[in-house]
């Protein structure tokens, strides 16, 4: 089997690097929400970056870069288990990290944030995608473009997840 790679010129490579730089937070948050194990997370980030690069030449300007990044990152994260056996071949090449966290101090409301992260981790993979998009304040239109479900359906599902989240927080607070 052969993998087709399009050779990027330097200009495109720089644009690609700038897009990754601009949306690194999305990739990191998605990887963290779908992978709790550090080593797996690094592999997932590499896999997402590879898939982003493979799709970059076919990027459709009809959608925003953020939509494109969300789509690919979520698709790869949800499907990541498929790569469990083969990913070692990819990750061995990169012993260092492409994404480096420098001096990250978590926000003050650490407990609430942990609770929120725990809530996200407990969600089913597809609901998790909706939750992440909702928290990043994506419009229903954009959520629909990314997930493929209708705007109304997205709104209904997000409401259901929000209610669950509220219940969880209120149970803890009382």
């Amino acid at each position: 089997m052969t993998y087709k790679f399009q050779v990027m010129d330097e200009n495109n490579e720089n644009i690609f690097a700038s897009v990754i730089e601009a949306y690194k937070g999305i990739i990191y948050k998605i990887a963290r929400s779908y992978c709790s194990v550090e080593d797996d997370r690094k592999d997932l980030i590499q896999e997402i970056l590879l898939q982003l690069w493979k799709s970059f030449a076919k990027y459709n300007p009809q959608f925003r870069y953020s939509t494109w990044v969300y789509r690919i990152a979520l698709n790869v994260a949800i499907s990541f288990y498929r790569k469990e056996k083969s990913r070692g071949n990819i990750s061995h090449v990169y012993t260092d990290e492409i994404f480096k966290m420098e001096d990250y101090s978590p926000p003050d409301k650490k407990e609430d944030l942990l609770l929120l992260q725990q809530f996200i981790n407990e969600l089913k993979p597809l609901d998790k995608a909706l939750m992440l998009l909702y928290l990043d304040e994506k419009s229903h239109k954009e959520i629909s473009d990314i997930t493929g479900i209708s705007e109304t359906n997205a709104a209904t599902k997000i409401n259901r997840i929000k209610n669950l989240l509220k219940q969880k927080f209120s149970r803890i607070n009382h």
């Binding site: 089997m1 993998y3 790679f5 990027m8 490579e13 690097a17 990754i20 730089e21 690194k24 937070g25 990191y28 948050k29 970056l49 590879l50 690069w53 799709s55 990027y59 789509r71 690919i72 979520l74 698709n75 790869v76 949800i78 499907s79 288990y81 083969s86 071949n89 061995h92 090449v93 990169y94 260092d96 492409i98 994404f99 480096k100 966290m101 420098e102 001096d103 990250y104 101090s105 978590p106 926000p107 409301k109 609430d112 944030l113 929120l116 089913k124 993979p125 597809l126 609901d127 990043d136 473009d145 990314i146 997930t147 493929g148 479900i149 359906n153 509220k166 927080f169 209120s170 607070n173």
Partner: protein, 218 residues
């Protein structure tokens, strides 16, 4: 905690992540260039390796079959029919394996989550269904050693009885597995045991995703 507070908390965290996260451009450049190419080529070699092993197995079966046909005698009838069938089942299995791997690697992740999920799940279900077909070769492994020279005419009755029993049992087992090996029956102990031989985790996840995707569409 109120909805707005939760979003504010998330936003605060996002800002900090964005501020603290650095992209190692040199490594990124390596990933998207030469090294990614070579690392994926090794992945493709691994896949080619399993396909090569399958082809070698088929060649071995085919060579034995060709030898039997070339030096044909009535004695080899059972062998030719049995190995012929086994060979065909294995050709189907290998061609399905190659098709699935090619499809999996052709998937373009720049599509909606739902579309990708449906494509992958359909592919995964098809892989699982193909496992069933492999079991249909089971009865032929109980007949290839028989010879037309002495079976059934010059064979004692108890041997015939034994042969009918094991071939009959394997036909029943192959048929039962073919009918029942599916995700709908994944809760049955024996189906779980059979799927364990492949990759239960993989199958169960496919099953869970299948249900999730259905819920997601509703």
């Amino acid at each position: 905690m109120e909805e707005q507070n939760i979003i504010a908390l998330w936003k605060e965290q996002s800002v900090k992540i964005d501020r603290s996260l650095a992209v190692n451009r040199k490594l990124l450049r390596e990933l998207v260039n030469q090294k990614a190419h070579s690392s994926l080529r090794s992945l493709s070699w691994l896949l080619s390796g399993s396909i090569l092993a399958g082809i070698l197995y088929l060649l071995l079966l085919g060579a034995l079959l060709a030898l039997a046909v070339r030096h044909y005698s009535h004695a080899a009838d059972y062998f030719i029919v049995s190995f012929g069938a086994i060979w065909l089942f294995n050709i189907k299995a290998l061609s399905d394996y190659v098709r699935h791997i090619v499809c999996l690697n052709k998937i373009d992740y720049d599509d909606t989550v739902l579309n990708i999920r449906q494509k992958l799940t359909r592919l995964q279900l098809s892989m699982i269904r193909n496992i069933r077909v492999m079991f249909l070769q089971l009865p032929f492994w109980t007949t290839f050693y028989l010879s037309g020279k002495w079976f059934p005419v010059h064979t004692p009755w108890y041997w015939i009885l034994f042969q009918v029993a094991i071939t009959g049992a394997s036909v029943y087992a192959a048929y039962w597995i073919y009918r029942n090996l599916s995700l709908e029956n994944v809760d049955k102990k024996i189906i779980r045991m059979l799927l364990n031989s492949w990759d239960r985790k993989y199958v169960l996840k496919a099953s869970a995703f299948y249900k999730d995707a259905e819920d997601f569409e509703e």
